[in-house]
């Protein structure tokens, strides 16, 4: 399954109870590699991320307008197949949220939904995905114990494996390291770097240094608007917008 899905956001507007969170957003996200969505907290970057797999609509009183093209299809169109869309995108939340079941079942959960699988196929899948996130060696002895028993850093890796098991093309990360200790955060960051060859990764963060470490492309969002976007080097070395300069120099606090 080749991943060729540049994402294009056209005139995206999101409001919550009549309060505008995203105002007229335009953005292109290139395929493959890591695109970092950068901005101070409360600027609407998580909201943007949750628009991509339309998780945003789960909350009440949310209104979404505009277009988001993935694979040349407008996913905000009412006829979009939400399940197929969501299968295409893996989401990693801020705080790792494991499912109330064993480690094994956590990884197998999504895959089992979409495909009828035999026991040995599932075993293979679980092993493969856990290896991808470097968790296999740590948990292979206790696949049947509760996912709750893992450390928080391991839980986040488990969540990543669970997402990868449904064979997504795009990975969405909503500040996935912010609840972790520095060591676990580093492991997750390394994983992203190793995954970027095969997946389009969109990461939301407010940490400048993390953006510098991981990004291929950067989009800076401030107060619900895209201020500037471009390749990493250009963005950090030669910012054009005044607000970007101020953010980079730490005047706009994150």
């Amino acid at each position: 399954m080749g991943a060729k899905c540049p994402i294009e956001v056209n005139n995206l507007k999101v409001s919550y109870k009549k309060e505008e969170i995203l105002k007229d957003m335009n953005l292109t996200i290139p395929e493959k590699g890591i695109t970092v969505i950068l901005g101070p907290s409360g600027c609407g970057k998580s909201t943007l991320l949750k628009c991509f797999n339309r998780i945003i609509e789960l909350e009440e009183d949310v209104k979404v307008e505009g277009e988001i093209f993935v694979d040349k299809e407008d996913i905000l169109h009412p006829k979009t197949d939400l399940i197929a869309l969501r299968k295409k995108m893996g989401l990693l939340l801020q705080k790792p949220q494991v499912l109330p079941m064993s480690i094994y079942d956590n990884v197998a959960f999504g895959a089992k939904l979409h495909k009828k699988m035999k026991k040995n196929e599932l075993d293979e899948l679980v092993e493969r995905e856990l290896k991808k996130v470097n968790l296999w060696d740590e948990v292979k002895e206790r696949l049947n114990s509760s996912a709750q028993s893992l450390s928080i850093g391991q839980q986040q890796r488990l969540c990543l494996a669970r997402g990868l098991a449904v064979e997504p093309e795009i990975i969405l990360g909503d500040e996935p390291t912010s609840a972790l200790d520095p060591l676990s955060a580093e492991i997750i960051e390394k994983l992203f770097l190793s995954l970027k060859e095969n997946y389009t990764i969109i990461l939301v963060t407010h940490i400048l240094r993390q953006a510098k470490r991981l990004a291929d492309y950067v989009a800076f969002i401030y107060l619900g608007e895209v201020v500037e976007c471009g390749k990493k080097e250009e963005f950090f070395n030669n910012p054009k917008d005044e607000r970007t300069k101020r953010y980079l120099s730490g005047i706009i606090a994150g």
């Binding site: 197949d81 197929a84 299968k87 979409h114 495909k115």
Partner: protein
């Protein structure tokens, strides 16, 4: 994504849609059930009003079904009398307990007490009735009634009824039954008051008791009021325990604490079997149920609205 996925997805969608519709109908049927309860009791109860008139039903003191007299006044009065007396006993004790649990005890210790209240408030009403018969009724008959008669010989303490099965016994049993409810709601409301508020008052030099008296009780009064209203509802609808200890004799309006009391629910429970043959008698019993339904709904409505508003303010 292969075809297999989409075929499977179709099946998943179908079952999902089916459950969605079915559950929606089930949820809606709850409103239907509620309407049905109101409707049934009304259609069965209204004929009596049409026959005897509102005044004849609610203000007539005579209950002589064989002669076509269906005055519910004494029963309604007895219901309010017993319930209000029960609340009079229960409110101060419960609120003091609630304050003690939330302000003077550690959360964990308070939890144990609340657990005891919780478990015992779930015990069957007939067990409370049982307790009333073996403990409270004899106590009222042998101790309270003679003492009161001697000390305060006025109408409210004098009665021909020397059995102990009385307004007072019923009220005491009811008070014990509803106290856990008032305690647990009040305790929660008081405990939910933010720590900062206590702190800022304490920093002004107020003692613990002053904080409770001037700040906490003032802030919690809505919730406490809701607790009282809810327990009013609970106790006015309580049937079995009251039926067992109130005496339940048709002997005029109860005035004294020691008169026998015959509240509405007891009337329904005692007479429904005999009513089948006389249409108006039957209607009277359903009308009594309707009155009870309206009273309890009203209480619950007010109580829950207050509690919901408090909950929304906090979040």
């Amino acid at each position: 994504m292969d075809d297999n996925f989409f075929v499977r997805l179709k099946g998943r969608r179908v079952s999902n849609r089916f459950v969605r519709r079915f559950s929606y109908i089930t949820s809606l049927s709850l409103f239907f059930l509620f309407a049905l309860i109101v409707l049934m009791l009304s259609t069965e109860g209204i004929p009596l009003i049409r026959e005897v008139g509102l005044k004849g039903v609610f203000f007539d003191k005579e209950w002589l079904p064989t002669e076509g007299k269906f005055g519910l006044f004494n029963f309604i009065f007895a219901s309010f009398y017993t319930t209000l007396l029960a609340l009079l006993f229960s409110i101060p004790v419960s609120i003091l307990t609630a304050i003690y649990l939330s302000e003077y005890l550690k959360k964990k210790v308070a939890m144990y007490f609340k657990l005891i209240f919780d478990v015992l408030s779930g015990v069957s009403p007939v067990i409370y009735g049982f307790w009333g018969i073996v403990v409270i009724v004899p106590f009222v008959r042998k101790t309270i009634q003679p003492i009161c008669e001697k000390l305060f010989p006025c109408r409210i303490f004098l009665s021909d009824n020397k059995s102990g099965f009385s307004v007072l016994s019923a009220s005491i049993v009811l008070a014990i039954m509803v106290s856990p409810l008032i305690v647990s709601i009040s305790e929660e409301v008081i405990r939910a008051i933010p720590f900062e508020i206590r702190q800022s008052t304490a920093s002004l030099g107020a003692t613990k008791w002053e904080i409770i008296k001037k700040v906490l009780l003032k802030r919690a009064r809505g919730g406490i009021f809701a607790a009282i209203i809810l327990s009013f509802s609970r106790s006015i609808g309580e049937t079995m325990a009251v039926l067992m200890v109130a005496g339940c004799q048709i002997k005029g309006t109860p005035i004294s604490f020691f008169d026998a009391s015959y509240p509405l629910p007891a009337l329904i429970a005692n007479t429904f079997g005999e009513t089948m043959s006389i249409p108006l008698y039957k209607s009277a019993i359903f009308l009594a149920s309707l009155v009870l339904l309206i009273l309890t709904l009203l209480g619950n409505f007010i109580g829950w609205i207050i509690l919901l508003r408090i909950e929304e303010e906090q979040s």
